[in-house]
Each structure stands twice: as structure tokens, then as C-alpha cells.
Amino acid sequence: MMKVPMKSFWSRLISGMLFSLLYLAVAQPAFGQVVSKFSLVNDSFISSAFEASEKSSYQFFTGQLKTEPKAAENFYIDLSAGYAFGAPLLSYINATELYVSPHLVDKSKVIFGRKLLDWSELDRRWTLGIFEPTFLWNPLSPKQQGLTGLFWSLDEENYGAHLFLSSLYLPDQGPSFEIVNGRFEKGNPWFRRPPEFINLNGVYTSIDYTIHTPEMSEVIFRQSFAGNVRVGEKNGLRGVFSLASMPSNQIAKTYKGVINTEELRGEVEVVPVIYEHVLVSGDFVYENENIETGLSVIYDNPTQPTYSDGFTHPKFTAATLVSPFAEVRFRGSRSSVWKLGVQALDISGGGVEDEGPDAAEDRGALTSRYPFSRAVELYGAMSMRFSKRQRILSKISYMQSDENKFSVIKWNNLWSLDSHWDLLTDLVLVEAADATRDNQNDISQFKNHDRLIIGASYGF
């Protein structure tokens, strides 16, 4: 049985990273406007039916190293890592951005590294990982990561343009997992456990998994191209048009299941397959100090993944994603800033169906492209300053989908006690129906992952 040595490798790496961050925090003057922050948080799963993990409460020590957003540095970093005590699979590293950017001429620069860009308002707002990969340590709260490669950026008042070229491909960063003796270990509640049994004629047989991990070079050395043009002012009416041809940030899973007649056990081979897609998007936005509204559209046309004979494989169709959005901002007392918004998403096409010997009518495909296909989200955010160093940042959102039969409530609070200490809470409540072949979404599998995070952080 294959054992994926995730735990020991990542544990050591993350520990190393955290120590490095600690060192950098102490030595930060050398890096200019870089802020480092360390947190201790308790993450509790509060649903009575939570059963995916051995325990329902985890403690984390996290660190983040991030260049100040307003700093005009040639070097930019947004790197975070977390260490979960007693749950190594929950430890993580998230390199959101990391780049160097020498200025060529005014308003024009070349960037090398990993960088977030506004390729599509829709992708940014819904964090779907279409243009840019996502950090899916917690799929209920995905975070965008930048593309990695060579960027050219032109940013004039009334227009702008970006070009991106890369031979390096870094897909979505999903939850960690570990296979021991063919079984996925329990240890990361965010990891979507694949089917554990084969049902043949009403007899359920345990499955041993074998994942044929491709060579690293086969994965990362892939060509990507993207470009976009902005016409119009950033504050005002603008249109942003993007075009990309690149490997999808989601990886297709082809698989083949058999029953080993000698041992009477199921054996499933999983072969991850990277597939390309072509993206065309357009954002039409009006934005001023108090309002932002617009419509964002993406056309996503994937190629079909290659697969070996006898393997069940996903079949993709092109998708058109449309998202209207509107947001109002206003100021209140105590220097508070309020933000209220609504956004909707509708995906036409883009369904994924497994084809092949193990495809089943009552089960969705193992591969997922979009976490859901239609949703509406209401959100509100508030920033209230009590003193020079004290403030509360609070954001609450309610996302609901009739089509995918779920609703998610998120409420984040950050209370800055002083220039160093912050308290934070994070509440996520999920209600969802079971996924079916007709209702494929990534939310339903986490319907019992209601959670409450409480923690404190210290920043340098």
C-alpha cells in the first residue's frame, strides 16, 4: 500500500516556516514594511453530528508575514503558516503572494513571482479558483492565491493591461491527507474523504486506495498565458477583459475500482490528471466612494482530461458564469465604515459527470470544478475604531442556494486591543442537503462542519 508521507514532511516544513517567520519578525527591519503576526486559536466544530474527525476541537499556532498593503516595495510577501497541535494534517503553509517587482518605467513594471491580480471580479468575489488558484485548507473559506510566473503590468489612470507568462503551474492547495495501508486517515476534517466502500449486490467492501501521484516535473512545468485590459478609470466606469489559456487549478480525478478476489477487498486506483482550459472574462463595473456595482462574466472552456483505459473519468462541458453585484459603503459614528453588499452567481453548463465503469447514477463525480452552481450572498462589513489603537472589524455574510440546497452564515470579528494584540472570532454555520447526482456542490459534504474559532494574535 502506498503511504503518502504528507505528515512528517509537512510537519517539518511548517515548523521550519514558523520558526523562519519568527526570525523574520524579529529581523523585519531588513525587509522594510513587512508585518508579522502570530496567533493562537481554538477551532471547534460545534455541530452535534460532526463525525468526520477523531476530535472536534483543534488548537493552532499560526504565523503570517505580510508586506503592508500601502508600502511601495519592490518585494512583496504574503506568507502564512499554521501548526495544529496534535493534528499535523491540519497544519498548513499558504503562500498567497511572493514576488519581486523592479520598476521599468513609470506605471509599468515587471513582476516575477506569485501575485494576485484582478483578472476577474467574479473569480475574486466568489473565490472559485478559475483564473487564480485557491487555498482550500478550509473549503468553506477559500482564499485566493496568486498565479506564479512572469507578469508585465501597465497601470494608467484610464486604462491598464497585464500580461502573464509562466512555465510553472501551482494548482489549488487543498486539504492535506494521508493514506496508510490504503486507507485515508481521519485527521483532517476538511479533506473530502472519497468513497470508503464498494457496494456490490448489497455487500459493502472496504476500499484500499492507491494514488498514482505524477512526477513533480510533470505537474508543475506547464505553460500558462493570460492577459487583460482595463478600459476606464478604477474609480468610475470601467471594463476589464481577460483572456487566459492555462491548466485548470482544479485537478481531475480519474479512477478505477476493482474488488480483489483473493482478499475480498476493494482496490481503487486514482490517477490525478491536469487539464487545460481557455478563459475569457469581462467585468463591467461602476465604482465610486460609496458604491460599487457591476456585472462580471466568465466563459470557461475546458479540454477533456486524458485517462487510461478502464478508468472512470470526468466529462466536462464549457461553462458561462455570470455574477451581478452591488455594494454600498458609508461612514458612521466613531469613524466607523460600513459596507453592505449583495452578489449572485449563476453558472450555466460546467457540469461534471463521471463516465466510465465506476460511474454511478446516485453519486456525483469525484472531480469538482465549481463548489456550487448558483448562489446569492448578502454581506455586511463594519470597521469601527474606538481609539487610536482599538478597533473592531466585523463581517457577516449569508449565502444561500436554492438550486444546491444550502445556506452558509459566516461571521468574522477582529478586535484590535492595541497595536500588538488582537482578539478574533470566526463563526461558520452550514445547512445543506446531501449531494446527489443532480445536486453537486462542495458545501453539502461539510454540512456538519459548523465551527467557531476564537483566538488571539500578536503582531510585530
Binding site: 460545534i46 455541530s47 452535534s48 453530528a49 463525525e51 468526520a52 474523504r193 472519497p194 468513497p195 470508503e196 466502500f197 464498494i198 457496494n199 456490490l200 449486490n201 448489497g202 455487500v203 459493502y204 476500499i207 475500482g257 476493482v258 474488488i259 480483489n260 478476489t261 483473493e262 475480498l264 476493494g266 482496490e267 481503487v268 478502464g310 465503469p357 465506476d358 454511478a360 447514477e361 446516485d362 453519486r363 474606538f386 481609539s387 482599538q390 473592531i392 452564515i409 461571521w411 470579528n413 478586535w415 486591543l417 482578539l423 472570532t425 463563526l427 454555520l429 452550514v430 445547512e431 445543506a432 446531501d434 453539502s444 459534504q445 454540512k447 456538519n448 459548523d450 467557531l452
Partner: protein
């Protein structure tokens, strides 16, 4: 600080309210997520559970053609699924035990595939698609799926006939049986051809074992008649295999396989014929007899075409013996007949009837050979040609045909053309049958009649030669001809060709009794206490049949008459008598040596007289005589006849042998009466008695001499014996006294026609006189 406290409290309170609100509890109270499952289950495979039941239904033809296809498609899909969804210990190969455990676990919990069945299925697999016996590969499974396509087509083809083939119908027409066998033959031959079974190492033993295990599997431990019997039928099938195929169990090549299949289908066809038709026949129509003939001919042809015969030019006695034993074990021959008896009989027939050159010498004879089969077929054709002719005759509206017409039509028959209709062209056989036909004409042209009544009884009457014949008479006569010919052929003392030139003697007739003794005893026809049955039968045939002449041998005519009397009196009439005794409540509780109840003698006597007309309807004048004579006369008649017939001691009860002999003697007495009673007055005059006397001379010479000296008797002229016979019959006593005989002769002279012309009036004998003579003979 205050603001810090304020904001912290606000945050905690808000969180608490939020989490405890009813809306929130909807989120927190979610149900557990159902684990995802990879479905290998194909709804179509639900049908596998019904496979054993469907096979049972198929045999009962309770499945539509579509359902039959579906059942086999189900197996194909299961095989395809297995091939696609599993991995064996060898990757693409599976061991027998793996397969068994897999199917037990996933498919057939209720009907466990035994280890033995799994092994045999794998052996069969090897025969079908090659490979090893203990391993099957995925590519072999693919080939098996193709083989199942052939099975599917043939299963549907067989379906309309399947109930007939599996003995599930109560009746079937000949056409339906033929159609079923033809379909079975076509399917079996196609299957063997498609899978190239002929070039495999698969043996009959393997197939037999697999069949029995498969039947057990399908039965699933339940009592399912059509499958439960398979195992018990195995010894029979094995013995049939030995009979048809021979000792060698390995067939090679298409020719041998096809021949074996044809043999088994033919045997099955014959069995179907017996099961559905022959056993119900009452033999009352030409069609029934011809159908029997058809199956007999098929049986002979099957032996001739059997692989054993084709391969070795013989069918061994040992294989036939085993087959008969297996039939007996399966109770497929009448319970009262043993295989041993049949073995004795067929061996006797082979050695005597079908191999005339041997003249019964069985040394070195261990098999049925070509000469035997040819002879068997000739004899069958001889019977068959006459039977078909009997069936083709033009009967009048009452179903009768005059003897003259019968003889004329027999003479007019173009034998060659007739035989051509029967597909008999071989010149030697045609000549043989032509001779037999000429003998037949000669037989029926003679001044004699063959007459049986509606109950199968031989009619003894003055006018039987003028009796019109019907189909039943002639058919019964044809069977008696067959038997008589068999006797003459097998047990004649001489070797002359032709029925009419042969004769049997006491010793050869005794040989017949010896060789057929076991069968005769089991059929309750022979009496184990009888020590000289052959000699006695020869004597009876000589003395009491119409053609009897009293010498020491019997020819074809005497044999024919004797057999007719034997069948009529000893079988049909006796049965009727016993039934009547039962009706009249004359039966006693004890059983006699034959297994029939003893009969109260007084009751018998009363019932006999009361029912004489009914019981002896085939002896109309005797029946009338018995019903008209006075009670005293009847008492005397009975006493004389029963004394002559009785074997059991006088204890007021009678056994079967007593009655059988009694009835036979009644026939003999009547036969003598009507043969010699020229004026048909029911009395035998002196002149009529004189005519009958010569046949009795040899017997009289063996009777006790009394006061006659041996030298006188030795030199006594024929007239002396004639007069002595007259004395015996008329006076009812042995002329052992010279004075009494002299007085009798004096009276004879006094009443002679020269003196008073009253001889016939004074010296007459009636039926009572004849039975008294029987008594005297017995007492001698």
C-alpha cells in the same frame, strides 16, 4: 479600558445569542453525512438472485423467450462485470477458490456454489475455452460470454419443447416428441461445434459429474423433482453411456462427438416415446401398434448406430447387463421382472434366435454383433410387414374381413413393393421376408382359423374357420406367430430352414423352459414346483391342440395352437376367473406360491357354474354345457377336472396353479370336442372318437398295463389301442381287466352297424367323459 470591556461584552453576548437562537439550531442539528459508496451494483444483476429459480421455471417453460434471454444475458453481464470489476490473485487470472468465495459472498448466499461444483465448472471452462483447470483468465471470461450467446440462442430454440424434454407434460403427441428431440439434437450439435468441445479433453464422466452438481445447485437443497432426480439418474446415464459409447470414456473429433450426441438424443427420444405414449397404449389400434414398432426399430437402429458398435463392431453383453440393472434400480422396468431375468432372455435370444448357426451354443458369445442386429431387424421386419399389412386391409363396416378375402389379399400382395414402402431394399432381406410371407400365406390358407374374442381369448368353436377376422384378432395372431417363430427358431431340434420344416422335441422345449425359467417364474407364468414343464407342454401340444398328432415332437402349427391356448387360457381366462372369484368373495386371506390369494373351493365351484357363460365365452359350447347339466353332473364334471388339474392338497381351497391347469384342461377338452364332433351335437360318437384316437396311442402305451402282459401289449395291433381308447373314454376307466374289456368289445360287436347299427348311439362320449379321461391320465 471601559470601551474595551464594553466591546468585548458586546461581542460575547452577540455570539451567544446568535448561537442559541432557534435559527442557529437548524444549522447545528444537521444529520450525519452519508458516506459515499462506489456502486458496482448494476440493477440488472438483481436477476442473478433469481437464476436458480429461473432455471427451474425454464424447465417448466414458465419463462417467456424474453425472460430466458434475460436470464442468460444476466449471467453474461455478471461475467462481464466480474471481469471488469475484479482483480484476481494473478492480476488477470483467478483461482477456482477465489471465484467460489467471490460469488458466494456477492451473489449466491442462498445457493452456495460448492467447492466441487466450482472445480467442475472450471474443468468445463477448460473444455470450452481452453486454459488451465484451476485458473481462469479475463480473456477466457470474454470467450465464455460468447459461448453463452450460443447457449442463449439454443435455450430459446429449445424452450417450446422443454417441458416435453424434461418430462413435465402428462401427454405428448408423436409429432411433439419428434420436434422436441429434433430441437435437442440441433442445439446439442451446434453447441459442440461452436465450442469445439470435440477437441477438448473433456470426458463424459466430467459432464455427468458436473450435471449432477449443477442440479444440486439449482435445487438449492429443495425438493425439486426435475433436478432432484438428476443425481439418482446418474447410474442410469452412466450405464447408458457404457451401452452406447462403450468402455472408453474419451471421445475424439467431431465425428465421435456428433455420433455420441446423436446416440443420446436417440435414446432420449425412445425414452420420451415410452414415457409419453407407449406406456398408455392399450394396443387397440393399428396406429398404436405401428408406433410401438417404430420405437422398437429405433431401438435396434440405435444399437447399430451406437458409438460402441460403430467403434468396436459389437455391443458387449456386460454393457447391456449394466443398463438393465440400472433400469431395474430406477424401477423403469416392471417391478415384477428382474434385470437378471431379462439378461437371461436376451442372451438366449441372441444365441438362439439371432445367431442360428450357434444353435444355442453360447460359448464365446459375449456381445451383440452385426449378425445379431441384422437378424433382430429381419425378425422385426417380418412382424412389422405383416402388421402393417394387417393395418392396411379393407375391413367392412363392422371391422371384419372374411378369411377368403384375407387369404386372397395376402396372395395378391406385391411383397417387394410392400417392403419398398418400408424402405427395405436389400435383396437378401427381401428374399428372406418373401419366404416368410409365403409361409404366412400357407399358414392362413390351411383349413384353420385364428380367432380371438374381444377379451383376447382364443375362441374354440365349430366354425372358427369361417369366422370373419378383425384387426385385433389378426394382430394378436401376428404376435403369436412371432412367438411361435421365435420358439421354432431358437429351440427346434433340427436346423431345416423355414418354420414348417422345423420341430421341437421334449428336450428342446425343456431348454426353453430352462432358459426362460426366471422370467416365467417372475411373471408368475411358470411354477417353480414343476419339474418337467417342457415334456408336459410338448405332450399337451401334441394331444390337445387342433394340429396335435400325439408324436414326440411339435411342429410350427402345434406350437402356434399351443401358444394361442396358453395365452388365452393361462393368461386371459385365468385372470378373468380370479377377478370373478374376487367379486364373489371367494378369496381367502392367505397367498399362494404365486402371490395370489387362495380361493375357497366350494365358493369357486358355485361361482364357476354361475358364471360359466361369462367366464368361458370363448368356449361357447362348453359354457352352455356347464350351465345346462344337472348339479350332480356338474359336481362330477368338476370333481374329475379338478382332480386332474389339482396340484395343491385337498383342503377345501384352491391356488393359482390349480385354477390355471383347470382352465387349460377345459380348453383342451373343448378343443378335442369341437375338433372331432363332426355332427356338432356335443357328443363324440365311436367313429368320431376313433378318429381322434391315434394321437393318444403313445400316451396309452405308457399307462399301467393292469392284467395285460407286456408282450401282448407290445404286439397289440392298432385296432386294439383304438378300442382301448374307446373303452377309456366311454367307460371312463382304464381297460386293465381282460374280462371287462371283453364284455365291452362284446357290446360293441352286438351294437355294431353290422348287427344293430347302434354303435354310435351306445358308445358316445360327452365333455364329462373327456374330463374323466384327463382325471384318469392324471391318476396314472
Amino acid at each position: 479600558m471601559g470601551s474595551r470591556t464594553h466591546s468585548g461584552t458586546w461581542l460575547s453576548a452577540t455570539l451567544s445569542i446568535f448561537l442559541l437562537s432557534p435559527g442557529c439550531s437548524n444549522y447545528l442539528g444537521g444529520k450525519e453525512t452519508k458516506p459515499e459508496v462506489i456502486q458496482f451494483t448494476d440493477p440488472k444483476l438483481e436477476c442473478l438472485k433469481a437464476f436458480p429459480e429461473n432455471i427451474r421455471k425454464y424447465v417448466l417453460n414458465d419463462l417467456s423467450a424474453e425472460q430466458t434471454r434475460g436470464t442468460i444475458t444476466c449471467i453474461q453481464e455478471a461475467a462481464e462485470l466480474f471481469q471488469r470489476k475484479t482483480k484476481g490473485s494473478g492480476g488477470d487470472t483467478y483461482k477456482t477458490d477465489e471465484l467460489r468465495r467471490f460469488f458466494e459472498r456477492y451473489f449466491s448466499k442462498e445457493t452456495t456454489v460448492s467447492k466441487e461444483l466450482a472445480q467442475e465448472l472450471m474443468r468445463f471452462k477448460k473444455a470450452l475455452v481452453g486454459g488451465e483447470e484451476d485458473v481462469i483468465s479475463k480473456s477466457e471470461i470474454t470467450q465464455l460470454i460468447k459461448v453463452l450467446e450460443v447457449v442463449k440462442e439454443e435455450a430459446v430454440r429449445l424452450q417450446p419443447s422443454i417441458r416435453i424434454l424434461f418430462l413435465q407434460e402428462k401427454t405428448a403427441t408423436l409429432e411433439e416428441i419428434d420436434r422436441a428431440s429434433a430441437a435437442l439434437r440441433k442445439s446439442a450439435l451446434r453447441f459442440v461445434k461452436e465450442v469445439d468441445l470435440a477437441n477438448s479433453e473433456y470426458t463424459f464422466e466430467d459432464a455427468k459429474y458436473l450435471l449432477s452438481l449443477f442440479a444440486e445447485y439449482i435445487s438449492g437443497g429443495k425438493q425439486v423433482r426435475q433436478f432432484g432426480q438428476v443425481k439418482t439418474l446418474m447410474p442410469l446415464i452412466e450405464s447408458l453411456r457404457r451401452l452406447l459409447i462403450g468402455e472408453s470414456v474419451r471421445l475424439r473429433g467431431d465425428l465421435e462427438y456428433n455420433r455420441a450426441i446423436n446416440n443420446f438424443v436417440d435414446a432420449h427420444h425412445i425414452f420420451l416415446g415410452i414415457y409419453y405414449r407407449l406406456r398408455f397404449f392399450e394396443f387397440k389400434s393399428s396406429a398404436e401398434i405401428e408406433e410401438v414398432g417404430r420405437f422398437v426399430e429405433k431401438g435396434i437402429a440405435l444399437l447399430a448406430s451406437s458409438h460402441q458398435f460403430q467403434n468396436q463392431r459389437e455391443v458387449t453383453f456386460s454393457s447391456l447387463d449394466q443398463f438393465l440393472m440400472a433400469l431395474q434400480d430406477r424401477e423403469l422396468i416392471p417391478k415384477k421382472i428382474s434385470a437378471a431375468a431379462l439378461q437371461d432372455v436376451y442372451k438366449s435370444m441372441v444365441a438362439r434366435n439371432f445367431d442360428p448357426g450357434r444353435r444355442g451354443d453360447s460359448r464365446g458369445l459375449k456381445s451383440i454383433q452385426k449378425i445379431h442386429l441384422d437378424s433382430m431387424l429381419y425378425e422385426f421386419h417380418m412382424w412389422s410387414m405383416k402388421q402393417k399389412w394387417i393395418g392396411s386391409l379393407s375391413y367392412n363396416s363392422q371391422g371384419l374381413i372374411a378369411m377368403e378375402d384375407l387369404v386372397r389379399q395376402a396372395k395378391e400382395l406385391d411383397v417387394k413393393a410392400w417392403l419398398a414402402k418400408m424402405n427395405i431394399y436389400e435383396s437378401s432381406e427381401v428374399n428372406y421376408l418373401q419366404i416368410a410371407w409365403d409361409e404366412f400365406i400357407r399358414f392362413i390358407s390351411a383349413n384353420r382359423a385364428v380367432a380371438f374374442d374381444g377379451d383376447g381369448r382364443f375362441v374354440i368353436d365349430y366354425d372358427t374357420k369361417r369366422y370373419p377376422q378383425n384387426w385385433k384378432n389378426l394382430t394378436q395372431g401376428n404376435i403369436v406367430h412371432l412367438l411361435a417363430r421365435g420358439l421354432m427358431q431358437g429351440f427346434a431340434a433340427n436346423s431345416e430352414m423355414g418354420n414348417f420344416k422345423r420341430y421341437m422335441t421334449g428336450p428342446t422345449f425343456s431348454d426353453w423352459y430352462k432358459e426362460y425359467n426366471l422370467l416365467g417364474v417372475e411373471l408368475k407364468a411358470f411354477d417353480t414346483r414343476s419339474k418337467n414343464a417342457g415334456e408336459r407342454s410338448l405332450l399337451e401340444a401334441n394331444l390337445f391342440t387342433k394340429w396335435g398328432n400325439g408324436d414326440d415332437q411339435i411342429d410350427y402349427n402345434e406350437t402356434y395352437d399351443f401358444l394361442s391356448l396358453l395365452i388365452s387360457g393361462g393368461l386371459f381366462v385365468v385372470n378373468q376367473v380370479q377377478e370373478t372369484m374376487a367379486d364373489d368373495q371367494c378369496l381367502l386371506g392367505d397367498l399362494d406360491i404365486f402371490g395370489f390369494p387362495w380361493i375357497n373351493e366350494d365358493c369357486f365351484k358355485t361361482s364357476l357354474r354361475k358364471n360359466a357363460i361369462k367366464l368361458f365365452g370363448n368356449l361357447p359350447h362348453m359354457a352352455r354345457y356347464l350351465s345346462r347339466i344337472s348339479a350332480t353332473q356338474f359336481e362330477s364334471f368338476y370333481e374329475d377336472l379338478m382332480t386332474a388339474a389339482r396340484i395343491s392338497p385337498r383342503q377345501g381351497r384352491l391356488e393359482t396353479a390349480d385354477i390355471r391347469t383347470f382352465v387349460m384342461m377345459l380348453h383342451y377338452a373343448e378343443n378335442l370336442t369341437v375338433q372331432f364332433d363332426q355332427n356338432r351335437d356335443g357328443l363324440l360318437t365311436a367313429s368320431e372318437l376313433t378318429q381322434s384316437a391315434p394321437r393318444f396311442f403313445p400316451l396309452m402305451k405308457q399307462m399301467k398295463r393292469g392284467k395285460w402282459s407286456a408282450s401282448v401289449l407290445e404286439k397289440a395291433p392298432e385296432i386294439f389301442w383304438q378300442e382301448a381308447f374307446l373303452y377309456l373314454v366311454v367307460k371312463g376307466e382304464i381297460p386293465d381287466s381282460l374280462s371287462k374289456f371283453g364284455a365291452f368289445e362284446g357290446k360293441r360287436l352286438w351294437n355294431s352297424e353290422w348287427i344293430r347299427n347302434k354303435a354310435d348311439e351306445k358308445f358316445k362320449a360327452n365333455r364329462s367323459s373327456i374330463v374323466r379321461v384327463f382325471r384318469l391320465i392324471k391318476e396314472q
